[in-house]
Amino acid sequence: MSAHRLYFANQARWSGWELAFWLAWVVAFFIPQSNLALLSQILIWGLFAVSMDLLLGYRGLPSFGQAAFFGIGAYTAGYLSKFGWTEPISGLLVSGAVAGVVGLAAGRVVRGLHGVALLMVTLGLNSLLYDFVQRSTELTGGDDGLPGVGFAPVLGLFKFDMIGRTGYLYTLVACFVIFLLLRALVRSPYGLALLGARDNPRRMQMLGAPIDRDLTLVMGLSAAVAGMAGALLTQTTQFVAPEVLSFQRSADVLVILVIGGAGFLYGGFIGALAFIFLRDLFAALNPIYWYFWIGLLLVLTVTFFRRGLLPALADLWGHRRKPVAVDAKHPKSQEVAP
C-alpha cells in the first residue's frame, strides 16, 4: 500500500488501546462490588462531553449552553415515559431527535456569532430554558422533578434493577453504539470538513464549502448526542429535575473536555473519568473545601496540559499510531488583512 494510502488508513484503523479502553468497561462490569451506578454516570458524562467535543474539538465552537440540549433530551425521555411510552430504546432515539431539532434551530440562530458573543448567547438561552422549567411547576413539577417517570424493562427482559446492572449495560451499549457512529462520522470527509472550518472558515468558503449550513448541522448533531446522554440519565435514574439544565452542568462539561483533551472523541470519556473520580475523592477528603482542589486541577490542566490529558498521555507514550494529532489550541488562523 503506497505511503499516502497508509497515512489515511492509519487514521481510520482501530488502534490497540482503543479496544483496550472499551474492554476495560466490560471487565469492570464483571468485577464484584464494582460501583456500577458511578461508572454509568461517568459514561453518561463522557457521552455528553463527546457531544461537546464534536462542537468544540472538531468545529472549534465553544458553548456555555450544552446542558440545554442535555436537559431537553432528559425531559423528553421523562415525558415519554410519563405518557405511557415507557420502552427505553425508542424513547432514547426520540429524545435524541427532539434535542437534535432544537439544536438545528439554535444553530440557525447563533450562526453569525463567535468567541465571547457565542458564549453569552448560548448562556442566555440555557438560562432562559432553566428558568422556565424550574418555574412552571404544573408542567414540569419544577424543583421536585417530573412526577410519574418509570421505564419498562430493556428489550422487555432486563428490568432496571436496584444494583444498576441493567442500567450499566444499557448505558455502555448505548454509549458504544453512538460513539461508533460518531467515530465513523469524524473519519469521513465530513469530519475533515469540520476540522477545516475550525482552522480556517475563509479558506473553506473559497473551496466552495457551505460553512453556515454545516455549522447548523454540527449544532444539530451535537445536540442530538447530548439529548441522548440526557435521556440515558433519566432512564437509568428513573428521575429528572431542572438540575439537568443548569449552568453548572454546561461549565462542568467544558472542564471535563478540556481535562480530557478536545478533538479526540476519547477526550470526553477520559476527562469524565478523571473529573468524577477527583471530585468524589476531594469531596471525601474535606467536603467543605473541595471546590479549591477542583479549581486547582483546572488551573494546572490549562497551564501544563494545555491540550488536555489525552494528548499529554499520548506524547508521553510517544505513541505513533494515535488518531489525528489535532491541536485544539491551534494558533489563530491567519486572517486576511482587509
Binding site: A24, G142, T237, E243, F277
Partner: protein
C-alpha cells in the same frame, strides 16, 4: 502500549472496589448519613456534624448492645442524580441498615424507590415539601417539618390579630407555589382577603420593584415564604430600606425567613418579624437550654431535626437489645412514638411516619445582645395532648 492497558484496567479496578469494613464481634448498626456539605447550601451539613458530635459526647457511640457507626456522604446540594447514586452505594455496598437524609425534596423523591426496595428505614431531616412521607415509600419518616405545619397556623394567627388584607410573596419554585396556594386558601377560609400575590425569581438580587408592588397593594400585612439563604437576607434588607418596615404593614412568614443561620447577617432588619416555626433557640425548656449551651462553642444553633433523628435511631436500636437489628421492627417501634425534643413535645405519626409537632408563633427580639425568635404563642397539635 501494554503499559497503558494495564493502567486503564487498574484505574477501572480501583474505581469500582470500595470494600466495606469487616463486621465486628459486637453487632454494629451502620447508619447512612446523607447531607449537603459542599456547594452553596453546605452550611447545613457542617452544623449537623457539630450536632452529632455533641450527641455522641453525651450518649456515646452505642445503643443497647449494639454499636452505632455513621457512614457520611455529601449530596452536594439538590442533585438527584448524585443523591440516588449515593443512596444506592450506601444500601448495596455499605449495607447500611438505617439512614438519615437525604436533604432537599428532589433528592428524596429520586431515592424513594431504592429505599423501599432496600427496606431501609430512613429519617428525612431536611426536606419540607408535602407528599413525600408515607406516599413515596413506607420506610420514610420525618423529623423536619412539613410546609402546611407552619403555613396554615400563620393564616389563623394573622386573622386573629386583625389582619384582613394579606399580601402573599413567595419564591418562585415548587415549595413556594405550595405555600402560596395553602396560605391563600386558609386565610380566605378565615374570611380574610388576599391583597396580592407575587412570585419572585430565586436568582433576582434586586427587590425594589417588589417592595413597590407591596406598597401599591397597601395590605395590612405581608406573608413571605423564601428559602433560608441570601434571598431572605436581601428581602429583609429591602423591606426595611424601602420604608415598609417603618410603616404599619406587619411582616409575617414561616420560620425560614428568620432562621438562626442568617439572623445576625440580617441584623435589625429582622427585628419584630413574626413567624410560624417548629423550633427556636429561645424555646423555654431545660432540654433546649442545655443543648443550646452545648452547641455554644461551635457558634451556631443546634440542628434539631438531626438531634431528634439521632434520638429516634438510638432508642430504636436500644429497643432491639438481644436480637439482631431488624428494619421492619424499627419501623413499628418508630411509628406512633412520642418523645421530648429540644423544640418541644413531638411524635412520629402512626399512620404515615410524618412528624407531629406543635407550631410556635415567634417574634424576633433582641435578648441580651443577641437576636432570637421569642415564642409568643403555641398552637398545639391535638394528637400531642
Amino acid at each position: 502500549m501494554t503499559g497503558l492497558i494495564r493502567r486503564q484496567a487498574l484505574l477501572a479496578l480501583a474505581a469500582s472496589t470500595l470494600l466495606s469494613a469487616p463486621a465486628m464481634a459486637q453487632e454494629t448498626v451502620k447508619v447512612g448519613l446523607l447531607l449537603t456539605y459542599s456547594g452553596p447550601s453546605g452550611l447545613a451539613g457542617q452544623h449537623a456534624d457539630d450536632t452529632i458530635k455533641v450527641f455522641q459526647q453525651r450518649y456515646g457511640t452505642s445503643a443497647g448492645d449494639k454499636k452505632i457507626e455513621f457512614v457520611k456522604r455529601d449530596t452536594t446540594g439538590p442533585n438527584p442524580e448524585v443523591a440516588k447514586r449515593l443512596v444506592q452505594e450506601l444500601i448495596v455496598r455499605e449495607k447500611v441498615q438505617l439512614m438519615i437524609g437525604p436533604d432537599f425534596t428532589p433528592n428524596v423523591l429520586a431515592s424513594a424507590p431504592l429505599i423501599t426496595e432496600g427496606k431501609v428505614p430512613t429519617i428525612i431531616a431536611g426536606a419540607a415539601t408535602t407528599g413525600i412521607i408515607g406516599e413515596k415509600s413506607p420506610y420514610l419518616m420525618r423529623t423536619f417539618f412539613a410546609i402546611p405545619l407552619v403555613v396554615a397556623p400563620m393564616a389563623q394567627y394573622a386573622y386573629k390579630t386583625g389582619v384582613r388584607k394579606l399580601f402573599v410573596l413567595v419564591a418562585d419554585y415548587a415549595p413556594g407555589h405550595d405555600a402560596e396556594n395553602l396560605i391563600g386558601k386558609s386565610f380566605q377560609a378565615q374570611g380574610g382577603t388576599i391583597a396580592g400575590n407575587l412570585r419572585i425569581s430565586l436568582r433576582s438580587p434586586e427587590f425594589s420593584s417588589h417592595m413597590q408592588r407591596i406598597k401599591d397593594a397597601a395590605p395590612d400585612a405581608v406573608f413571605a415564604f423564601l428559602p433560608t439563604g441570601e434571598l431572605t437576607v436581601q428581602f429583609l434588607k429591602a423591606y426595611s430600606d424601602s420604608g415598609l418596615k417603618a410603616s404599619n404593614i406587619k411582616l409575617l412568614g414561616t420560620g425560614d425567613i428568620t432562621d438562626e443561620l442568617l439572623l445576625d447577617a440580617a441584623g435589625d432588619t429582622a427585628l419584630g418579624v413574626i413567624t410560624a416555626g417548629y423550633y427556636s433557640t429561645a424555646h423555654d425548656s431545660a432540654m433546649n437550654k442545655q443543648l443550646v449551651a452545648d452547641l455554644a462553642p461551635f457558634k451556631h444553633a443546634p440542628n434539631v431535626p438531626i438531634w431528634d433523628a439521632l434520638r429516634l435511631v438510638y432508642d430504636g436500636v436500644a429497643a432491639q437489645k438481644g436480637s439482631p437489628f431488624n428494619g421492619d421492627k424499627f419501623m413499628t417501634f418508630a411509628k406512633g412514638r412520642k418523645f421530648e425534643s429540644p423544640r418541644g413535645p413531638i411524635a412520629i405519626s402512626a399512620t404515615n411516619g410524618d412528624i407531629v409537632q406543635n407550631t410556635y408563633i415567634r417574634r424576633v427580639e433582641r435578648r441580651d445582645g443577641k437576636l432570637v425568635n421569642v415564642e409568643i404563642e403555641t398552637i398545639a397539635d391535638p394528637a400531642l395532648r
